[in-house]
């Protein structure tokens, strides 16, 4: 059995119950006390997300300032349980518009009870698709993006749609203007050694779509990935066009994508759900274009002084620019005074995180600003511990740039009524975990 959860609890950081739902009688009502006693009030918190207390296992996740705890009494499927929590939170967010925190839960608790009843019955996950749930849920989120009114009577054949071939899309949608928005969002993960060699580097990307299309459209997406292009040239029996091709390590798709066709023809074809969804996710480890190079030199001069020089080089096209660049350079705890010189942006010392934070709002390509700082330390005699030098961390967003080089070659929309559609494609690369050891 995938989950058969006995109970689900929402707790705040103090351990007060915000929401509880007991699905089965096989765990006592005091389970939440057990969780508070043995996990929340001990050092165990955060050391492992799965714990066994008594005969029960607790799976817990912290999401902003809320703990979501699932209690099971049998040998449950953990991956499924965590995925369920993640999906459920995404669903709640879509109802109350963005934030998922203690206040949002308090403001929407009746809605959450309603949702919990529908998405899980007697511990078995049921339907979590927002499209279908809309038909059953009477409460409106405090900031609901959906238009359905509490008084809306369900469409008579509503439930039949659960069974239909296209469970994720309602029939009879009409838009005046048919538009498709496609975003390729990549996050680059980098781990660079202090000697400047790349220890680990990969890109996890996702393609997000927003569809405002009438009827039951059929979409086809072509990318410059290697397998797809090879297959195409095979089918058309002509050599592949020259140009960069990308090798995707692994791809996963939204349930709307016809996987059989992907496996045979290597094209991504699908009937999209209405509104916003994640079409696919992919992972790339080879041939990643790093947008930034960071060259740090940190010198400890005696016991009370440090010299920090950091040069950041942007290696993308000169016409492009990165936004919201933040470079966090760690300094020892006992930092007393800092002075900086930067060639671009602003820097300051943030004592709460023991870092020099250098922010550059707009960072053009092919430039290399530098920061040089002098750090004075309080001399401590008692503490002999040497400083462990955490890595430099970086945040950024580079619009119109993909670290993997992935490009959309075409996006075709077919619908039997033959309307015209407007397609918008955007690219953006963000920093995932971008760490440079120093």
């Amino acid at each position: 059995m995938p989950v058969a959860a006995s109970a689900i609890y929402f707790l705040n950081l103090r351990g007060d119950v915000l929401i509880n739902r007991l699905y089965r009688d096989d765990v006592g009502g005091n389970m939440v006390d057990a969780f508070r006693m043995h996990i929340m009030q001990t050092k165990e918190l955060g050391t492992c997300p799965v714990r066994q207390i008594g005969g029960c296992s607790f799976f817990y996740m912290r999401i902003s300032n809320v703990y979501i705890v699932i209690v099971v009494s049998s040998n449950a499927n953990v991956a499924c349980a965590f995925k369920f929590v993640v999906e459920a939170v995404a669903l709640f967010k879509s109802y109350f518009g963005g934030a998922f925190d203690e206040d949002a839960i308090r403001n929407n608790f009746v809605l959450i009870y309603e949702l919990l009843d529908e998405i899980m019955d007697f511990g078995y996950p049921q339907n979590l698709s927002p499209e279908i749930l809309k038909l059953y849920i009477t409460q409106e989120g405090v900031r609901s993006p959906f238009s359905s009114k509490p008084s809306d009577k369900p469409v008579p054949n509503a439930t039949l749609q659960v069974t239909g071939a296209v469970g994720w899309r309602r029939e009879g949608l009409v838009y005046k203007k048919n538009e498709v928005f496609l975003d390729i969002v990549e996050s680059v993960n980098l781990l660079m050694s202090s000697k400047g060699s790349v220890l680990r580097c990969d890109v996890t990307g996702k393609i997000l779509m927003k569809c405002f299309l009438s009827g039951m459209p059929d979409l086809k997406l072509g990318l410059n990935d290697k397998i797809g292009l090879e297959k195409e040239s095979q089918l058309k029996s002509r050599p592949a066009k020259s140009g960069k091709t990308i090798e995707l390590d692994d791809v996963t798709f939204h349930q709307c994508v016809n996987l059989t066709r992907f496996n045979s023809e290597k094209t991504v074809s699908f009937v999209p759900p209405d509104g916003e969804f994640e079409l696919m996710k992919y992972r790339i480890t080879e041939g990643v274009n790093l947008p930034f190079r960071v060259l740090p030199t940190i010198k400890e001069l005696g016991r009370t002084r440090m010299e920090v020089n950091v040069k950041v080089k942007s290696v993308f096209g000169a016409k492009m620019f990165a936004l919201g660049v933040v470079i966090k350079i760690p300094v020892p705890k006992q930092t007393a005074k800092t002075s900086f010189q930067v060639t671009s942006g602003r820097a300051k010392y943030q004592a709460s995180i023991d870092c020099l934070v250098w922010k550059i709002r707009k960072f053009p390509g092919q430039t290399e600003p530098t920061l040089s700082a002098e750090v004075e330390l309080i001399s401590t005699i008692a503490e002999k511990k040497s400083w462990t030098r955490p890595p430099i961390q970086m945040e950024f967003q580079v619009p119109m740039f993909t670290a993997s080089g992935l490009r959309v070659r075409f996006l075709k929309v077919w619908e039997k009524s033959g309307y015209n559609t407007v397609e918008w494609v955007r690219y953006i690369t963000k920093a995932g975990s971008y760490e440079i050891r120093c």
Partner: protein, 840 residues
């Protein structure tokens, strides 16, 4: 709408307040109950919301039951839902009041709106009051036949709920067969899935008493039914797919073409966005191909990329769950992920539970090609991250060192750790150096030089201190100060709180005594006196035992404390392979995370004290199986040290509450082992006779008044040094210089030929005869080995080239020796050792 949050913030469940609010609400509800004024529903909604918010924070609002039920006579679905929620919560504790609700719930079950029908039915089944079950049967029966799929979905789960309240009512109403009919015929896949989970539960519970139920449960994994589900797999929701896939793992296909059909059908599931579906598919693939070794290996290659994606995407909790599974897989097939080791590098901000698993992955995937990079990375963590992870990473380096043949560079790294002068780093490194020396005694020279510089005062942790003391005892001949350090430790006997350390101290002083008697004599006397007076039973017993055996016979004592030791080739595995297989069978469940089969944590009788005994049994089996060669020869005080690798596992195991690995440290086991060994030593005078050389008037030194042991003439047979060491360059040089002393053809026993599938098998065997291998190679049927051996207590080497052809069962042997005169004797020894190969 007025957010109730503000009013509740100040209230906590423990506060007795809320009484006045509840009676206030009661009054207001009563006023509204009969009212038909416009807008009354809105005010009711607000009130109901308040009631439910009180309920949530733990204020008892059950006294409102009557009023709530009165107010729920409405067509407003929002109100109804809230009322159902309230009723479901309090019906169980107020069975009498619950009766009040039956009426309106039953009426709602016939409402024209399918949604109300479904909701009412769900609430009715959620009342969980045993004496109301008779009211459930009717509505459930009609619910199962309802034209609306939503109502049917609810009704199916309702049947399961009824079964849990009253199994007999459910079975008597013949609901299981109705569900079976629905499962096979309903067009809605959600209903099929719910039927499946309900029937699995019901029939599994009934199977013990009813043969029919057992048959039905078997039928769930019959070919037609599995195919029926598989053909519709794409229509199922992602959660239901997990359910179906789990069922498919239990199915046994009739032939390989069927297996391939199923795998082809399910291959695209590996690209599903839901990680749970991917894992469930992985399980199907692994289970189906268990009997087909080649395909099983291909499956590992196929599932690699999707699993790595799951690790890097999703929340840390999800990657934790996936990493646990990867860890299980990597233990079965280490090579699969060996080129992807970079995926397991830790990120600075990752939670420690993910880091810990990644460290284990790095340890498990290390092989000849990537060790250097992995160890370099691990050394970064030792200096850079939080202390528990730093410790783990040092242990990881040690574990890799124990796995590898080429440990040169790793030993250097470990020795650097010792010089880092951080307490915890030193402590961990000491324990590792000790384990390393037990496996590779040839490194003792380098290590001892560094260890000798560590002041015992800087080492506080018991494990590390014990390791240091062990080294002091074992290598006291090479460490100038050993007797004096031990002596000062003995002086501080009373300040030493750990019994483990005191036990080791006793043994170390004994060992040191036999190597450097004059310097250790006084320390030994003091240690024995302190030990006999010790309040800890084991320490007391061991001290007394040493004292008595010294009195009985000094050479026997030395035989016990300082026997010729053989390097530990394989450290005891903590889990038997049977347990590992069971965990593998339960892939994609909690078992993998807890690293124990489910019966150990779900069955009541296996938790608690019994778990202890159970594990003890398992452990002794596991140890015997994995450690046959070494365990016989490992001397008694190594017995507890032997388990230190297991103990590292324990730190992780301990977070699971039931510390599976804790058993062997019970020092009583080691004491027990020591006694049996003594018996064998005493009852076997020939072995005791070999160590006569140490009997120099110990009675005088200790004043124990023992008779001196008569000198026995040295045995005619050639004795080999069990701890012989020779580095490959020296071997090559010697091989070139020396002439061939003997060249002959030996034949192998048929059992020997059968056991020689890989070169390693013979290596281990010859090592147990004190003949060590320096290089080996080849594939069946032709193998080539270079062996060497050393004469006991003399730097005289024997080098052997041995070419074995398993088809002819012949071995071509060339022997070269430093001392030509004994080469004949060595040759016969070698022949004897080889002839025993393959015989148990």
């Amino acid at each position: 709408m007025a957010p109730p949050a503000q009013s509740q913030r100040s209230q906590s469940p423990s506060q007795p307040s809320g009484k006045s609010e509840v009676s206030d609400l009661k009054l207001q509800l009563r006023q509204l109950a009969g009212s038909r004024a416009p807008g009354v529903d809105d005010s009711k909604r607000e009130l109901f919301k308040k009631v439910i918010s009180y309920m949530t924070i733990g204020i008892d609002v059950s006294s409102l039951f009557g009023e709530m039920v009165m107010c729920s006579a409405t067509s407003d679905i929002v109100l109804k839902k809230m009322c159902y929620l309230y009723v479901g919560n309090y019906a169980k504790v107020n069975p009498d009041l619950a009766l009040l609700t039956i009426n309106f719930l039953q009426r709602d079950c016939h409402d024209e709106d399918p949604m109300i029908r479904g909701l009412a039915l769900r609430s009715l089944c959620s009342l969980r009051v045993a004496n109301l079950v008779e009211y459930l049967v009717g509505p459930l029966g009609s619910g199962l036949k309802d034209s609306n799929s939503y109502v049917r979905t609810v009704a199916v789960v309702g049947v399961l709920k009824l079964y849990h309240i009253s199994a007999s009512t459910c079975v008597d109403a013949d609901f299981p067969s109705t569900l079976k009919h629905l499962m096979l015929n309903d067009p809605d896949t959600q209903i099929v899935a719910n039927c499946l989970s309900a029937l699995e539960e019901i029939w599994s519970a009934e199977a013990s008493t009813s043969e029919e139920a057992a048959r039905e449960r078997e039928a769930l994994i019959s070919k037609p039914f599995i195919y029926y589900l598989l053909n519709r797999i794409k229509e199922f929701s992602e959660w239901a797919q997990c359910l179906v896939l789990e069922l498919v793992t239990k199915y046994v296909p009739s032939d390989s073409s069927e297996i391939f059909d199923i795998m082809n059908l399910l291959e695209d599931r590996l690209q599903h966005a839901n990680g749970a579906v991917v894992l469930a598919t992985v399980k199907v693939f692994l289970q189906l191909t268990l009997s087909m070794t080649d395909v099983h290996q291909q499956v590992y290659e196929r599932i690699k990329a999707p699993l790595l994606t799951l690790v890097s995407s999703g929340s840390p909790e999800q990657s934790y769950a996936v990493l646990s599974h990867l860890h299980l897989l990597v233990l079965r097939a280490p090579y699969v992920f060996s080129s992807d080791y970079k995926h397991f590098y830790c990120q600075y901000n990752e939670p420690s539970y993910v880091k810990r698993l990644k460290l284990e992955m790095l340890t498990a995937v290390a092989n000849e090609s990537n060790t250097y990079e992995i160890v370099t990375e691990l050394c970064e963590y030792a200096a850079n991250v939080d202390i528990p992870i730093a410790r783990e990473s040092i242990r990881a380096v040690g574990k890799i060192a124990l796995q590898q043949y080429d440990v040169n560079a790793i030993v250097d790294r470990l020795l650097q750790f010792l010089e880092m002068e951080k307490d915890y780093v030193t402590a961990e490194a000491l324990v590792l150096v000790k384990d390393l020396l037990r496996k590779y005694p040839q490194w003792s020279h380098d290590c001892i030089a560094v260890v000798g510089n560590i002041s015992s005062k800087n080492v506080q942790e018991p494990k590390a201190k014990a390791a240091l003391i062990w080294m002091l005892g074992e290598y006291s001949q090479d460490m100038q100060d050993a007797p004096y350090i031990l002596e000062s430790l003995v002086e501080n006997w009373d300040e030493e709180h750990s019994a483990e350390v005191r036990l080791h101290l006793l043994t170390a002083v004994m060992k040191c005594f036999f190597k450097r008697p004059p310097e250790t004599q006084s320390a030994l006397g003091a240690a024995l006196a302190a030990g006999i007076g010790d309040f800890h039973q084991d320490v007391h017993d061991r001290a007394l035992f040493y004292y008595r055996i010294l009195r009985y016979n000094v050479s026997v004592a030395e035989q016990v404390v300082n026997p010729p030791k053989q390097a530990v080739s394989v450290f005891a595995d903590t889990q038997s392979s049977e347990i590992k297989d069971r965990i593998f069978d339960e892939f994609n469940s909690l078992s993998v995370l807890y690293q124990k089969p489910s019966y150990m944590f779900t069955d009541k009788e296996h938790r608690g004290p019994l778990e202890f005994a159970d594990e003890l049994g398992n452990l002794s089996i596991g140890e015997a199986a994995h450690n046959v060669i070494s365990s016989q020869r490992v001397e008694e005080n190594d017995k507890d040290l032997l388990l230190t690798t297991a103990e590292k596992e324990e730190t992780r195991g301990s977070s699971n509450n039931g510390s599976v690995y804790a058993v062997p440290y019970d020092s009583s086991t080691s004491v027990f082992a020591s006694q049996t060994q003594i018996e064998s030593a005493i009852s076997n005078p020939t072995t005791a006779g070999h160590s006569q050389h140490a009997s120099f008037g110990i009675d005088d030194l200790l004043g124990l008044g023992m008779p001196a042991v008569p000198d026995v003439a040295s045995p005619p047979q050639l004795k080999l040094n069990t701890k012989a060491a020779l580095d490959p360059n020296a071997f090559q040089q010697k091989w070139r210089q020396l002439p061939v002393a003997l060249s002959q053809e030996l034949s192998l026993s048929p059992q020997g030929v059968a056991s020689l599938t890989v070169p390693q098998a013979l290596l281990r065997h010859m090592q147990s005869h004190s003949i060590h291998c320096i290089a080996s190679g080849g594939q069946s049927p032709n193998f080539k080995f270079f062996f060497f051996a050393q004469k006991y207590e003399e730097p005289s080497n024997y080098l052997v080239e041995c070419i074995i052809n398993t088809t002819s069962a012949k071995a071509q042997v060339k022997i070269k020796a430093d001392d030509q005169s004994t080469s004949q004797a060595f040759s016969s020894l070698f022949e004897l050792a080889l002839s025993k190969f393959g015989t148990p």
